[in-house]
Structure formats: C-alpha cells, structure tokens
Amino acid sequence: MGTEALEIAPPRTHYINVAYGVKSWLLTVDHKRIALLYLASVTLFFFLGGAFAVGIRLELLTPQGDFVQAESYNRLFTMHGIVMVFFFLIPAIPATLGNFLVPLMIGAKDLAFPKLNLLSWYVYTIGALLTVVAIIMGGVDTGWTFYTPFSTNYSNGNVLLVGIGVFITGFSSILTGLNFIVTIHTMRAPGMTWFRLPLFIWSHYATSMIFILGTPVIAITVLLLALERIAHVGIFDPQLGGDPVLFQHLFWFYSHPAVYIMVLPAMGVISELVANMSRKNIFGYKFVAFASIAIAVFGFLVWGHHLFVSTQSIYAGMIFSILSYAVAIPSAVKTFNWTATLYRGSISYNTPMLYAFGFIGFFIIGGMTGLFLAALGVDVHVHDTYFVVAHFHYIMVGGTIMGYLGGLHYWWPKITGRMYPEGWARFAALVVFVGFNLTFFPQFLLGYMGMPRRYYAYPDEFQVLNVMSTAGASILGVGYLIPMIYLIWSMRYGPHAPANPWGAFGLEWMTSSPPPTENFPETPVVTWEAYEFRPYEETEVVGGSGVEEADIPEPGPRTRH
C-alpha cells in the first residue's frame, strides 16, 4: 500500500495530544486513552507470561529435571497459565481494540459509562498487582485451574492472594462487558441498524454476553475457594463430605466460555480484515453475525467436556460431547464464510492479512483437534496430555494472538496516527507463523504418543520433539519481540497515516487518524450497509465540517494506492 507516497498532515488536536501529563492519562474517561492504558498493561503481562513460558520450555529441553525441579516447574506452568489467561488473553482484544473501536465503529462519542470504563482498568490493575505480589512471594503451584482439594488443603503456594487477584480482575471484565452491551444497544448512530453493524461489533456483543453471564460465576467460585482455604469446612473436600467435582463444574462453567471470550473478539477482527483486505462484502453477513451469538450460547452448554474423566455420569458426558460437536457448526460457518469472501476478492497480502491467514489456518487445526477431544473415547486416551496443550494453544495463541496482532497492525494507523514499517511487519508475521507451528505441532505428536502435561521430566524418546518445540518457542519469542520494537519505534518515527490508509469500510475510517476526543466532528448518519464496497462516485460523504481535505472520509473505497 504505497501510503508513504502521500504527504498527510495529521489533525492538529486529537485524543493523544489534547492533554499532557501522567494525570491526564490516569484520570481520563476517554475510551481511546483507556484502551491505550490497557494496551500497555496487557503487553506487560504478555511478556511476563512469556517469561514463564521460557522457563517451561528450557526445562523441557532435556528429559531430566536440570533447569528446575518439580516444585518450581509446577509454579512456572501455573503462573504462565494464570498470567496469560486472566491478565492477557481475556482482556487482550476486548479491552484494547474493543475499547478503542466499539464507540468509533457505531458512531458514538464514547462508551455508555466512561467512568466505569476507567474503573475497570483500575480494577484490572489492582488484581494484577496482587497477583504480581503473589508471584514475587513464590507464586502458586496448583495449575491455573485451582483444582480442589489440592488448592484448598495441600498447596503451599499463595492460592489465597492469587485467588483474590483473579476475583478482583474478574470485575474489570464484567464492567467492560456491561459497558459494551449497553453501548451497542443504546449508542448506535442514526441509521446504524443492527444488521449494518460491523462484524467486530457482533463478536464483541457475543463476548460481552459471556463476560456478564460467566465472569460472576468464576467470582463466586474463587470466593468459595478462598473461604474454604481459610475455614476448611470441606465444601470441596471429599474427606469431609464435600464434592470436588462441584468445584470443577463451577470453574469450567466460566472457564470454558472464557475460551470463547478469547477467540470471539479475534474472529471479529478476522471478519473485518478478510472483508476489507479482499475488498468484498463478507459472504453471508447474517450467518457470521449469528454464528458469534451461537458460539456464545453453545459455549455455556459444553463445560462438562472438561470432566469426562471425573465422576460426571457417562450420560452427562454423552450430552456434553454432542453439544461440544455443535460448537463446530457456527465455527465452521465463520471459517467457510471467510473463505467464500476471499473467493474472487481483490486480496491485499499485507501484514494484517497475513495474520488473518495465519488465524484461519491455526483455527482450523485447533478447532478440528477440538473435535477429537470432544469425542468421549478419544478424550480418555489423550486427556491431560500434550495433545490438549497443543489444541488449546492453537486456539489461544494461534487464534487469539494472531487476531490480536493482525488487528493491532490494521488499526495501528488509527490508534497512533502513524504507519508501521510494512517490510519488518511482514517478516515478523512470517517468523511468528513458523515459530508457532514449530512450537506447538510437535506437541500434538507428543500428546498422542502419551506424554502427559504438567510434568517436568519425561522419557528419553520424547526428547527430539521437545527440542523442536523449544526451538520453535525461541523463534516465536523473536517473532513477538520484533513487532514490540517496531511498533514503539513507529509511534515516533513512522510516516503519518491518512484517515483511511487501507481504503477500508467502517465508520472508524471516516474520522481523522488519530481521532479527536469526541471521535467525530458531528454525529454520523449511516445510510449504507456494512462492507458495502462499491465505486467511489456513488458513495455519500459524511463528517463534513472540521475535517481537513486530506481527512475526508472514504465510505466506499475507490482505487487502491
């Protein structure tokens, strides 16, 4: 995209330079600034969680325990899971890209409750700090699942402190979800009907449903866990008449839908990327939109597939198995529709699209192996092996992080007003793709051959594949560091971005880059369908006063630069 050929003057005042100083950031109620606060926080936790992953992969380089022993290894994988799941993956896309884009995409000035939005960041930060304190004091060794009665009676880690951290952070998710739902319901610009919403909004709506229905359940579960650890009454302790499987039910009632919290926003990003980068209306808009809702709804009915080897009845297991298969239907609808959108599209192979391609491939592999795991018989064989680890990393890392990075690159010009270096970015996307596959594909083989997860040592015959995995992890780490460096570099030195560098569709591209604090000079009136790509001459131009010539929006993209 030859954007460097265009000399773009950035708007004189925008949301970043409208006020200066630490206080203007810490007390801001602007959703765009809060998104940047979240961006900084989750990036920090991403690299913290990554550091634990380095420890895990180093230990697994050799069959015996030489880097760390069992006790430390338990803490490494537990902290890796807790930091990555609760402090990176769950808030990653909704709290950063979602926070930034939901009001912009629907033509609103802000989220419905700006102060709650700021509060959610503080709640997140407090929970995160408590967890960091717990890590410094030695961490936890229960696994991120906190299974009882180990976590309540026997673990000598800081279960209580981490539990409180997770409990508190949950409320930031609830506030974000509540804010999104109310905003999408009540703040849409005139003419922005439900079926004109970008698919990113639909997927965030579905995500928010899970936030407000699921997160309170993990809150009460962790609270019960904490009380039980203090009082030892035995509510989850079979010795005292309690039922540890109750904990597993409550835990997975949230934590399975939480997987969809992670992947649904990424699907929203991919829908935007696929439609805009192939310059076509998305194939089957309503199907993709309702697939998001269907995934959120089905997501609440499948938690029992984590309990196939617990005391759960075989009949419950069969029902959960069938329902888990059902999730594949809306997931496949999305995948097929993205593919159909690409068909005869005018595809740009730029960085965001490379990540989108990566996402689709990884999601297919992660999703298909999910079907293996949903099958009762196969699951008993591969339960708690590296097959499971590989499967959920294909979704969480291959899905969510690819979507996150793709979205971050795609909206980076809008967020910062600067372009990132395209060459480096494509190179990094390639490194991530190679590193990711090398890290996690061998783990499918390891798991299928029977290597259990959560062990610091393993038989010699597994070493070759583990060395491959560790080598891949180091490549993957480099792949994540490169964007970190050039994105920060581009904030200062990147070329100025025009309002709509991609010729993309959507209200967020119809305001300047970066947008002003109130998002639009005047409330836009929407008279077009989503992704209604058509010749430029036919499109209507909105925005009007206060927008400089270079920033005049392009509702329908014209020629490619």
Partner: protein, 222 residues
Amino acid sequence: MADSHTASQYGLAHHFESMEQQREAGTLGMWAFLITEIMFFGGLFLAYLLYRSMYPNDFAAASSHLNWPLGFVNTIVLICSSLTMALAVYYSQIGKKRLLLLFLAITVLLGLTFLVIKAFEYYDKYTDHLIPGFLFDWEGPGNPQRVQMFYWIYFAMTGIHALHMIIGIGIMLVLIYMASRNRFTPEYHSPVEISGLYWHFVDIVWIFLFPLLYLIGAHEAH
C-alpha cells in the same frame, strides 16, 4: 432525537445525545448488572441445592435451629422497604421532593432494621458455637460435619446478601443527599429509578433465601 440536545441540558452527560438515550443506557446497564448478580448468587444456590439433596436430613436438622420468626420478620421488613422504595421512585418522577426524601429515609430505616435483626441472629449463632470453621460445636441430631456445611452455606449466602444491603443503604444515603440538594427533577430522576431496581433485586434474593434456608424441611426435624 438530536434536536433536543443542548450542551447545557441539566444532568446530561457529554457523550449522550439526549436524556432519553441516557436514561435507557442507565436502566439497561443496571439490568445487565443485575444479571451478573443473579449468576453470582447462582453459584451459591447451586452449592446449596447440591448439598441439600446429598444430605437432606442433616440440612433439615441444621435448618430447624435457625430462628424462623426473626427471618419472617425480616422478610416483612424487606417487602415493606420495597414498597417504600417504589413510592420514592414514584415521587421522584412527579417531582415531590419532600415525599421522595421521606420514603428514601424510611427505606434506609427498614434496611437498617433488617441488618440489626440479622446481627442479632448472627450473635445467637456465635453464642451457640455455630460459626463454621472457627467455633463450631453441634450437639443436636445429624452429622456435625454436614451441619457445619449448612451453616457455612448459610453464612456465605446471608453474608453476601447483607453486604449487598449495606451497599444499598449507602446508595440510598447518597440519593438522600442528592435529593436534598435538589438534584432530581421529573426530567432527571434516573438515579433513583436505577437504584430502586438494585434495591428490589436485593429484596428478591432474600425472598429466595428465606424459604430455602429457614423453612424447607425444618418441620421434619421436630
């Protein structure tokens, strides 16, 4: 919609187009919040139902030791407070400031009455050595361990409910302060209305807690 928007309109936040939109957003936000509350309490109800069905006799024995007349009085107190809250919302809608203040104050008093009675109940449990995990000594019928589990669930559920009551009373006090400063008009009274939703919700939770904890199966133990 947009033509009713004036920057100086009282009570309208900068990012809303109209009072109507702001009111809708606030109300929907509270409903969404109450859904999260239902799910939050839902985990406790699930634990209660599971153990009640696993150990019906022990739970009945433990339940019969609760002071149901006090629980009944508290139920009446809360139902009355819901009425006064509804009246407060009504008088805020028609702009009767003094009646609004009166009914908010009565609501606060009823809420406090509930908490005081609850405190007496808790104190009785303390003197009877029925504090699970710390001071528990059960001489009556049933397995003491299961009875302790009942009291554990009892304290978790009523404790979290009482916490909601305390927060509700705090909200009412803020409303009284705002109302006394003439902050509410018939055009702008959504804080009263939204707080009312919360108050009714907390009452309804008690309507479920009272029969589940105090009444079901209690007669079997006698």
